[in-house]
Symmetry: C2
Subunit: 346 residues, 2 copies
DNA sequence: CTGTTAGCGCATTCAA
DNA sequence: TTGAATGCGCTAACAG
């Protein structure tokens, strides 16, 4: 497939029609505030409009002009967590005159690296890596060199969530959020806990779970007493985890799901098995994606300003980096107690 | 901001390192299955790897090579309706080796046209316009010429949902879906209906509402008896519509919301005002976005295979167009009765 | 203020 | 099979 480039109207054609030089046409059409006499300017503008001229972004990029694309790489656009972040990112990108290229990796490390490479080929002005990275050392190494190359060539990038890689980042307070949940549950009187977890190799999972367990430990409940059920980081994973919990006779009075999406799956399984929430089992999620307030019972969770995360990340990357260590923008995690939590039965 | 192009490794550098000509390096690296002796081929490959060569997509495009970006323009990525479609589209784009550029217009006609123009500047291989167009004649005219220019230059485009513009399209059976809802409600015994509608200038709204009203009419209920409350095409819009319905004393036993997202807002308002669903008022949505089955009461709605819509649209546009009239892919609308509908009170 | 010119990195003729 | 040369459309010196 070709670019069918020849059939587009070129600057040169516009210049000819306006009877000015190529350079002049360039100045008025794509040159920002370059100085051109009003008369010529009008002629060029008229010709461009008449011919429906659209600049060739590739030629502009190649000739050393601006590149206006920024890349966004994430696990799954259709996950509300990511789509909310994406929305924020697009908002500020648009305001900054940038176009967003979106990659959905469906949690494949290879695909993530491929996307970064493709974005590099596009000479994207910046890349946002959204969602936690993978613990796999092979991935770490590959991604690190990919990003180093990109940065060495002048590209800017930032992370949303932890990546164990150097670079600016927007970091939700996962650990504190996990701890806050533990504290709230303890205060309600809970003593036996279960966790529906994603793969612990994901840093996000590790941090949320870590904060939760640490807080319990400091209240005298050892990590060994904690029933951690590890499943996919998805709604189905939450469903499976809850089923397993039920199968085990529900040896807990509270279930912490490391994401709202998992909590939704868990809630479905619990409902199917007739387990009353919160009467028999308190349920807590994490993220506060838009819909969970509409569930019933409305889900208790830890709120993250997802939109803001996207905005901040895009800002980080569209803005000049000050010298010094990588910048980090902390996103506060705020506990929101709704209907799915209560005192333990009995 | 510049492309920092000079700092990228170029094909020429690879060729020099491999001690072959530029042309040969091009052939092995980006030339598909061009014939090159194994020895030279290996030398080039080794040099490229060593130098971490990444082709410059802009240069490739400019030189007449392939353009691998496809554009996706929609109202709002964070709306589950669109993000589900997006996911499907990205899936097949990725399989086809294409990169997706995403534009979120937030329902601004101007922005939609700007995006198409930007995509044209990018020489995007194809453009998908997702979500219904605007009735505004000024917009229609502008978009039509924008698309004509794009197509004349060899670009391909398709619509998801109606646009009143010529071109291939993936069309959900909105009218039939609306009619199916009316039929089901009539069968349950309902006779007094309200609709929470988005702007009727949106063709999607017009069709869903039209199918609904026509079916009622053929059952002897004139359109003038139908209470249509027109608000934003959003959750807030649904909320506002339901509040108004409550303020009016709920002169109906069934409420049809033209989208699930609006139904979610409506449900929230009804809950706040203590209106039992479905006992006092039956509620029906449209789309079957993933979450509505988790609401309580679980929402009755019309299911559309959103993912498939995205996939089909991308396929339409990545595939060679057969001669003849525009292609249309019909997406069946299937009524799903869940808990939010019941016989009218009394 | 305006026009001329030289590349940007690559695919592709055309010769060899 | 390989190499040398041309041009894609545009921007950025540079000269006028």
């Amino acid at each position: 497939m070709d670019t069918h480039a020849g059939r587009y109207v070129t600057l040169e054609q516009v210049a000819n029609a306006a009877e000015v030089s190529l350079a002049t046409a360039s100045r008025v059409l794509n040159g920002g505030d370059r100085v051109v006499r009003a008369e010529l300017r009008d002629r060029v503008l008229a010709a461009a409009r008449k011919l429906r001229y659209v600049p060739n972004a590739h030629a502009q990029a190649l000739a050393g002009g601006a590149t206006t694309t920024v890349g966004l790489v994430m696990h799954d656009v259709s996950d509300p967590y990511f789509s909310s972040i994406t929305r924020g990112a697009i908002e500020v990108a648009t305001r900054g005159g940038a176009l967003v290229m979106l990659g959905s990796t469906f949690r494949s490390p290879e695909r993530e690296i491929e996307y970064v490479s493709a974005l590099r080929a596009q000479r994207a002005r910046a890349i946002l890596l959204v969602g936690s990275g993978f613990a796999d050392p092979e991935y770490q190494r590959a991604m690190r060199t990919e990003l180093e190359n990109y940065r060495d060539a002048g590209g800017r990038y930032a992370f949303v969530s932890h990546h164990d890689l150097p670079g600016d980042a927007v970091l939700p307070e996962n650990r504190a959020g996990g701890a806050a949940i533990a504290r709230a549950l303890l205060e309600l009187g809970h003593r036996r806990f279960a966790v529906a977890s994603g793969p612990r190799t994901l840093t996000t999972v590790a941090h949320r779970l870590g904060g939760f367990a640490a807080e319990l430990a400091s209240a005298g409940i050892p990590e060994s007493d904690l029933l951690v059920i590890e499943r996919d980081f998805t709604e189905d994973g939450g469903y499976a985890a809850a089923r397993e919990l039920v199968a085990a006779g529900i040896p807990a009075t509270a279930l912490f799901c490391v994401t709202d999406v998992m909590a939704i799956g868990a809630l479905m399984a619990l409902r199917e098995h007739g387990v009353p929430v919160p009467e028999r089992l308190s349920l807590v999620g994490f993220d506060d994606i838009p819909i969970v307030r509409h569930l019933s019972p409305a889900l208790s969770t830890v709120a993250l300003d997802l939109n803001r995360m996207g905005r901040e990340a895009m800002r980080l990357v569209l803005t000049d980096a000050p010298p010094g260590p990588p910048r980090r923008v902390r996103i506060p995690a705020e506990l929101v107690l709704r209907e799915s939590t209560a005192a333990p039965p009995g």
